[in-house]
């Protein structure tokens, strides 16, 4: 059985219909549990004090900001190469979610940075790359909105998305290329355990919560895009007829 059958809009709508409610319930439960644990039951860090609680939002949001862009780039490549409309629409649906998580990462990072670094913002390599990636999200959405013809909008937006991939890559790896103020990843397979278990377990739960929430919103928005596309086609048929 080929995975490309999921690129059929009717098949996509049929399969996603059954998972929507469980996804919302699971994301709500995980967010309540994970953030409740992070906010009320984690101890203050010996250096950061209670600002460590901000990282339970900042880290998952930053991961999703970068990974959503990677997903959009992958969907754009599939759309451009195989001409699957659902791929383009999934990329389009993901953009506002990625922009929102990027905004959360930037804002929570700034709020953490003020007491810990003594500044809301520095033109550090990682921070700057994330800010430029945020502008690519906004540009991508603006381009979709500016072009009336859906196929042309899909193609041009996909190309713009691929141009911005370099900033998603830099957002992830800038701390390894340059000696910057922003520290390296808190979670690393290569470097072993870098954070205490008291913080690590609730952090994993918050990451799972944010990812499930992301999938729920993405599927909801992708279904909306497919419906809007179908309504557009019906209207066009009416005009031609």
């Amino acid at each position: 059985m080929s995975i490309w059958r999921y690129a059929n809009p009717a098949e996509f709508m049929r399969i996603t219909q059954s998972v929507m409610v469980p996804l919302w319930v699971l994301s709500g439960a995980l967010i309540a549990f994970g953030l409740g644990w992070a906010l009320f039951f984690t101890p203050p860090d010996y250096q950061q004090g209670s600002t460590v609680k901000i990282l339970f939002i900042h880290v998952p949001a930053a991961m999703l900001a970068i990974n959503t862009y990677a997903l959009m780039a992958l969907a754009s490549v599939i759309g451009l190469v195989r001409r699957h409309h659902v791929s383009f629409l999934v990329a389009k649906a993901a953009a506002p979610i990625g922009a929102a998580f990027t905004a959360v990462a930037i804002i929570t990072g700034a709020v953490w940075g003020q007491p810990m670094w003594g500044t809301w913002w520095v033109w550090d390599a990682r921070l700057t790359a994330v800010l430029i990636m945020f502008f690519f999200y906004l540009g991508y959405m603006a381009l979709w909105a500016a072009i009336e013809e859906p196929d042309k909008a899909a193609d041009l937006s996909a190309v713009l998305c691929l141009v911005g991939v370099v900033f998603a890559f830099l957002s992830r790896y800038a701390v390894r290329f340059w000696n910057t103020l922003h520290q390296d990843s808190s979670l690393s397979v290569e470097a072993g355990q870098r954070i205490d278990d008291a913080f690590r377990t609730p952090l994993y739960i918050c990451m799972a919560a944010f990812y499930v929430l992301f999938i729920a919103i993405l599927l909801l928005r992708a279904r909306t895009e497919i419906r809007q596309r179908r309504a557009h086609s019906i209207r066009l048929q009416g005009v031609v007829a």
Binding site: P44, S50, T51, V111, Q114, L220, Q228, A231, R235
Partner: protein, 46 residues
Amino acid sequence: MDQYAPYVIAAYAGTVVILGALIWQSIRAARRARHDLERLDRERGR
């Protein structure tokens, strides 16, 4: 919480506002698209 409580609360409140707005807008757009398509299908079926 310690003297950093205002920063922690601000970060959580900002996140709730941004993600809440995203979810609200997504649900509103989904409802509108579904009703729009149902109306068009009904009109086409006449």
